[in-house]
């Protein structure tokens, strides 16, 4: 005989509840909805979570509210001697109630402190990402068919840390609806391997006898240095690209990112960046295989793109 064996008179616990699973699914749907569609999917997830949370709470409090609990039928050998009569506690004992109240209150207080603080730690890097346009000065500074290394500050408030470089070529005007529109190829210098600055492989102003252009725009000083690139190379791990930004060698996984642009009062304005898998052709008529902006080293096409299904919010 084992003395610690469970007494046959102990009440059986009710079967495990399934409602928390539905509740968890609702929370997941709501969180995913925050990313893909805050107006449609999030409320659906919220409703699922509330319904299942209500059912869960109902079931958890069934004993308290005096509802008969569903108890699994049990089988056991008939005991010869009659079972001893035990005093079943009615409802919840005082000590159990105080224990539960202490834990519950502690949990509520902990949650009230933790949730906002955790949100403050995590969310600012994802919400309201600034979309700063960059004024690069009049488009006449960009000779058609020639490359310039443009160095500029994206956000003057941030200062030097937001200094960026792009390779810019004005193309032959493109025919849009019967009238010619200016066209630019603007390639970011961030290597799509791990983000180092790629360099133009070719002679710069000093060697081709052309002056560096200095301009002052709303974004502060802009430096435009003429260059004849045979391509671009990354000093960190040797990634190589052709002048259109297509990868030709080394570890990069796609072509160099590009800037969107618009012409405003005769000035070239840089908008956000986008990712490119590869470019066919050159100049204004090139076919750019364009994707949503992805981080360096992330595949945007092929089977490997499945590794990066949901991108964090970008501008």
């Amino acid at each position: 005989m084992e003395p610690e064996h469970q007494s046959p008179d102990e009440p059986h616990l009710p079967a495990p509840t399934l409602w928390p699973i539905g509740f968890a699914i609702g929370i997941v749907v709501a969180l995913v909805g925050l990313i893909i569609s805050p107006t449609l999917v999030t409320p659906i997830g919220g409703v699922i979570a509330i319904v299942f949370g209500f059912l869960w709470a109902r079931e958890a409090t069934a004993e308290l509210r005096g509802e008969p609990t569903h108890v699994e039928p049990e089988r056991r050998e008939v005991v010869a001697e009659p079972a001893a009569v035990t005093l079943e506690p009615v409802g919840v004992t005082r000590s159990r109630f105080l224990e539960g109240a202490t834990l519950g209150l502690g949990g509520v207080i902990g949650g009230l402190i933790t949730v906002p603080v955790a949100g403050f730690a995590l969310l600012p890097g994802f919400l309201d990402q600034p979309n700063t346009n960059v004024d690069l000065g009049p488009i006449e500074s960009f000779p058609v068919g020639e490359w310039l290394i443009a160095t500029f500050v994206v956000d003057p408030k941030q200062g030097e840390v937001s200094r960026r470089t792009a390779f810019i070529r004005q193309n032959e005007p493109v025919d849009v609806g019967g009238k010619p529109e200016p066209s630019f190829t603007i390639i970011s210098n961030h290597c799509v391997h791990l983000g180092c600055p790629v360099q133009a492989n070719g002679p710069t102003s000093k060697y081709i006898g052309k002056e560096v252009i200095h301009e002052h725009t709303a974004n502060g000083p802009v430096r435009l240095e003429p260059v004849i690139p045979a391509g671009y190379g990354c000093p960190c791990h040797g990634g190589q690209y052709d002048p259109e930004g297509n990868r030709t060698a080394g570890p990069p996984v796609r072509a160099l990112d590009r800037y969107d642009f618009r012409i405003d009062k005769g000035h070239l304005i840089l908008l956000g960046t986008y990712s490119v898998s590869h470019v066919e052709g050159t100049g204004g008529t090139a076919l750019i295989h364009r994707y949503k902006m992805a981080g360096p080293g992330e595949h945007i096409d092929g089977i490997e793109q499945l590794l990066y299904p949901i991108q964090p919010p970008h501008h």
Binding site: G125, G295, L307, Y308
Partner: protein, 275 residues
């Protein structure tokens, strides 16, 4: 038959001094038990054929303490700001590092200790890990301590990663660009992790303050907690004999040396032992 001489003056003085010294110790012991605790922690029984290699863990701990102390002192002078000083056109964080190194009394020494000590800490952790592996000291019942040790190693490397950005020079900036983008290439959550580390899409001044907070508050706190657990398990489970030891492993049949079964000598699992 011996006659007891009355104590000399010198003996009486000696006794007085002893009482004077012991009084505060006894006072503390009576109220906290700390003295006994420290004695228990420091004066443990260890195998007779213990090896010098088994001091590597203490060496790594010492290296961590050096990092902690020099780090606190550096934090008194370092300014984690990416804004540009209008007088010089240089970033404030970088200027404060230059100030520590070139101007402040012995600043070069404390910064050097912190910079080189970082590598020493990591190297000693690896050597300690190698010793534990080669001595088989990760085996039952010490598996959990191996796991905690791995966590300390990972935290130590995170310290290295976050600390590297703080000088805010070109090396720091581009190393962090590459390091964060490496994290970003992890499947599924990688891009999110990278954006969390940067606190945005690009490295900004916020990245610097974030790395500073992680480097000097969050990660060291975690390392200290893990070291506490690590030492607790070392004391609870005792120190292993070297693999060439002739002593029987896992304690012998005699009564435990200090009467504390299960602390310096683990209790065998089950009635018949493991073997």
């Amino acid at each position: 038959m011996t006659l007891r001489r009355p104590p000399t003056k010198a003996q009486l003085r000696r006794k007085q001094v002893e009482e004077l010294v012991l009084y505060p110790v006894d006072w503390l012991e009576e109220r906290s038990g700390l003295v006994g605790g420290v004695k228990y922690f420091l004066f443990r029984n260890v195998p007779a054929d213990i090896n010098w290699m088994q001091t590597l863990g203490s060496a790594a701990l010492t290296a961590f303490l050096v990092q902690a102390i020099t780090g606190v002192i550096l934090a008194m002078y370092y300014v984690p700001s990416a804004t540009t000083d209008p007088a010089t056109g240089k970033p404030v964080a970088w200027e404060s590092i230059v100030n520590i190194t070139d101007n402040l009394f012995m600043g070069w020494l404390v910064r050097g200790m912190h910079k080189w000590g970082a590598s020493v800490f990591i190297i000693l952790m690896f050597l300690h890990m190698g010793r534990v592996f080669l001595f088989g000291a990760y085996k039952y019942p010490r598996e959990l301590n191996w796991i905690i040790g791995v966590l300390i190693l990972v935290m130590g490397m995170m310290e290295g990663f976050t600390g590297y950005l703080l000088p805010w020079d070109q090396t720091a900036y581009w190393a962090s660009v590459v390091g964060i983008n490496l994290n970003g290439t992890a499947p599924f959550l990688g891009p999110w992790l990278a954006q969390f580390l940067r606190s945005g899409q690009e490295i900004t001044g916020e990245t610097l303050t974030r790395f500073y907070a992680l480097h000097m508050l969050a990660i060291p706190g975690a390392i200290m907690a893990l070291i506490g657990l690590h030492l607790y398990l070392v004391i609870r489970l005792g120190v292993t004999s070297p693999p060439w030891s002739k002593e029987a492993a896992g304690g012998d049949e005699e009564e435990p040396l200090n009467g504390r079964v299960g602390l310096t000598q683990p209790v065998a699992r089950g009635a018949g032992g493991r073997d």
